[in-house]
């Protein structure tokens, strides 16, 4: 298939912009507020241009077609290929990435330390994230997947909070261990199947024994990325210490790579093993949902609370994916997108008050509604979304994944439902302590409401939360074809095992 290289342009654009900024920065001479401002505006323009290209991709895309579209394929070295393409699942996550990145850059307007390096790293990160979702060659996928560690490591370590170095190391090494085991598995798969392209690997029937080991190796990587209980411990540290925009990228996009990996690799390539391990995943998901919610309840740091709530919400995603049914997979994708918007927005909310007061202690705040009515409204809306209130985008994902789980195992659904109640408990408690009441801390007496930049930040997020909550079919229709393709292939494979026809 030849044609206009939409995806290559989409992937290359942010990094080309980063190179441009590097060149411009080198020519601009010594640092100053004017130079920094110019760099920020350039970065914002690049990310908006990327968003425009991704919308162009969307217009070229036919959601009714379940196969990969806009495919580009060229031979590369080592018997590998440059092979990119998107389906409904991948494109929805690409759009999430391109939409969130401009907001992140806008949220980073207050950065005043090494601005050019920050923006360059951010744009490089955007290229790598888009690449992960577009790659159709398994090594190309690994390249983008793993390459993202480098900019994220430096972003957390340089611009992060007090304990940033520890958090950066933990983030990097945790993820790397999982990924290298996956690399060994990937190389083994390439050697066995004789192909490195993802569609061909999907078609290759691995033996049941091989699937078990491969599934475990991929699980090691994606479970850390996701993150699932019990390998979630890097996330609260990384979230708390990362700069606001770093937390947003982590929560909104990087965590989605785990879910994407399960849907792209584990389920279609290792169906036997997925069925074998599904009870394990269900158990871990329910533990994550309940345990993380309980832990969130006891947090004193706002960011840490939201980080644990992310762990809980990702439990719904894994539960939906490994139910193996179309409705579960649809729900999981929806939940990923919705979580991308809502938890990203919540981290931005924390960023707003952190920039004003330089603390994230829950006890420090209280009564913000008196001084910041608009902020309070926004915060409450996203809290409700986090709880999964019908009408917000948090609801459809939770209800569909729970339905799917109920059809497989009612006990699992019951555990997850308990988690929903707990999430209401911690989220509403947080809102009560931070937003309501009277202002008791004298330092809060002069705190200002949202300024115009912050308005620009929140308007699209509020709109998305309400739109996807009230009209969830926009996403469901878009991802239906690819979700049902994954589910049908999985069902066919597992029925074959049940009938004893599979080797």
């Amino acid at each position: 298939m030849t044609g206009f290289p939409w995806l290559s342009i989409l992937i290359a654009l942010p990094v080309a912009g980063a190179a441009l900024i590097m060149a411009a920065r080198a020519m601009a001479g010594p640092a100053g507020p004017g130079v920094d401002r110019g760099v920020k505006i350039m970065a914002l323009l690049v990310s908006i241009a990327t968003l425009c290209v991704s919308i162009g991709v969307l217009l070229q895309f036919d959601p009714a077609n379940p196969s990969f579209q806009l495919v580009e394929r060229a031979a590369w070295a080592f018997g590998l290929e440059y092979h990119v393409g998107v389906d409904g699942l991948a494109l929805s996550l690409v759009l999430l990435t391109t939409a969130i990145t401009p907001l992140c850059i806008l949220a980073s307007w207050t950065i005043d330390k090494q601005v050019a390096s920050y923006m360059i790293l951010f744009l490089v990160l955007e290229t790598l994230m888009i690449g992960v979702f577009c790659a159709l060659d398994v090594i190309l996928f690994y390249l983008f997947f793993e390459g993202g560690l480098i900019p994220m490591f430096i972003l957390i370590g340089v611009w992060g909070g007090k304990n940033r170095v520890y958090a950066a190391f933990k983030f990097f090494l945790y993820t790397l261990l999982g990924s290298l085991l996956m690399l060994v598995a990937i190389v083994w798969m390439i050697l066995t199947a004789g192909a490195s392209s993802i569609p061909e690997l999907m078609a290759h029937p691995f033996t049941a024994n091989a699937q078990t080991w491969l599934w475990l190796a991929f699980f090691a990587s994606f479970a850390v990325k996701m993150p699932m209980f019990p390998v979630h411990t890097w996330l609260p540290d990384a979230h708390v210490e990362a700069p606001t925009a770093g937390s947003v990228v982590l929560a909104s996009i990087l965590l989605k790579m785990g879910g994407y990996g399960f849907l792209r690799f584990s389920l279609p390539m290792f169906p036997d093993a997925s069925q074998l391990f599904a009870p394990l995943v269900f158990a871990l998901s329910v533990i994550a949902i309940v345990y993380a919610s309980l832990v969130a309840f006891r947090q004193t740091d706002i960011k840490k609370l939201i980080a644990y709530s992310s762990v809980a919400h990702m439990g719904f995603v894994t539960m939906g994916i490994f139910s193996g049914s179309e409705i579960g997979i649809q729900g999981a994708i929806f939940q990923m997108l919705s979580h991308g918007v809502i938890s990203g927005a919540l981290f931005l909310c924390v960023g707003v008050i952190y920039e004003r007061m330089h603390t994230r202690e829950i006890a420090f705040y209280g009564g913000l509604v008196n001084r910041m009515p608009v902020y309070a409204a926004v915060f409450i809306l996203f809290t409700m979304g986090n709880v999964g209130l019908p009408g917000t985008s948090g609801f459809p994902g939770e209800i569909t994944t729970m339905t799917a789980a109920f059809l497989v195992n009612p006990l699992v659904a019951a555990g997850a439902a308990l988690g929903v109640i707990l999430s209401a408990a911690y989220a509403l408690t947080l809102a009560r302590k931070v937003i309501y009441g009277t202002i008791e801390n004298p330092q809060l007496a002069t705190i200002a409401d949202l300024d115009s930049r912050e308005w620009v930040l929140f308007v699209p997020l509020v709109a998305a939360t309400l739109l996807f909550g009230l009209a969830p079919w926009i996403i469901f229709d878009f991802t239906e074809a690819s979700a049902s393709a994954i589910a049908q292939a999985y069902e066919a494979a597992t029925t074959a095992i049940a009938a004893g026809a599979h080797p």
């Binding site: 590369w76 080592f78 793993e146 940033r164 690399l183």
Partner: protein, 481 residues
Amino acid sequence: MTSEDLLFSLSWVQPELLLAGFVLLGTLVGALFGARSTRLLNVVATAALFAAGVMALMHRPEAPQDIFAGAMSIDAFGAFAKAVIAFAAAATLLLGAEHFHRLQDQQFEFPLITVTAVLGMFVMVSANDLIALYVGVELQSLAAYVLAAWRRDDARSSEAGLKYFVLGALSSGLLLFGCSYVYGFSGSVQFDTIAAAAVEPGVGLMFGLVMVLAGLAFKMGAAPFHMWTPDVYEGAPTPVAALFAAAPKVAAVVLMARMLYEPFAGMEHEWRQVIAVLAGASMLVGAFAGLVQTNLKRLMAYSSIANMGFVLMALAAGSPEGAQAALIYIAVYLPATIGVFAVMMALRHQGQAIETIGDLAGIGQRHVGFAALLTILFFSLAGIPPLAGFWGKFEAFRASLGAGLVPLAVVGAIAAVVAAGYYLRVLATVWFSPSAPSDVRPSSGVSAVLAVVGAALCFPLLLVFMAGLEHAADAAVRASF
């Protein structure tokens, strides 16, 4: 040997003749003009090394050519290695020239002895019998002992030279001991004849093989024969340590590959266990022991041990893919390693090359260019994609998994994570440490240029030339084994 044979043989060793001729003439020039000729000799030596590398590449045979009555064999595999060795040595010679010029320590012997070492490496990679092998190894080693002790007035440098010499002599003894067993039980020093005897090996031949491998493992710094590396790297002048980390490793790896794949191909089952153990031990020792280092040169020593482990993992495959992976690994390892040493010499602390990790504190704020270079170089050494080092690891994993060595590959994956810990520690110092008032100053010059070249090779040049590198390594292996 007739004169015709001799002429034929000489036609294939032009790079070696060029280097030998330079050393002899250079000695004469040095003797006549003394230290004044150092600058000239440095320039000519670099040019000669470049020329030798290019000649080896251009004038490579289609099929292996046995010369000097079978003592040496010229083939594409050796030509690839010679080019890599020559270019790496030229780069480190440039570093050394700048280094000693800054220290006002001009001795014309430095380029001569460096070139002598390279000559020894050239003989090593083309060796086709045990005598040539030993002569090559010794020529290289003797030159290296002298280079390690170059700063005679510096106790650490003298200690490094002495330590290297004593332990090196021991390993040469092991090597020679092994060679004598191999000769005794196969009846020949010729690789071809040994290969015929190795099809049905006895205990004596096996014993000889293990001794030979131990000697070679020492030369390449693989665990458990690695203990000299950190001390020698630390004590030797920095450009000499850069040389040790680069060119001799290539020669030792290629020689190891040749020994395993040619004379002892029939004993693959026996040597695979030895190589796998060496590989696993090197990866783990290099990874864990590196974690506690504070001196950059010692850290680089452990890094080289770990990296040699990955090369051995590739060789343990026993397949042409293994040899190809080893060549690719070493070709992507060199720019990163030489680049790190170049940065150490470009950043100067009281006129000296920096030595400790602490010297790098806050470089990310004051000299962001050097911080970016270090980031690329160290992430490449750690094997993080898409940097060059990743492709070496990928190829090594592919070779060993292709041979069914799954547990070894898993050990490699774990070791790579642990080793990433200390590369990250350096980078954390570079980027995250507060900018302390310090007198570390960057200098422009050869070392800075080489650092940029090394980093550029790691990213993005390799991604562009990767197909070419793969093709070259593939052709080299295909034409030779």
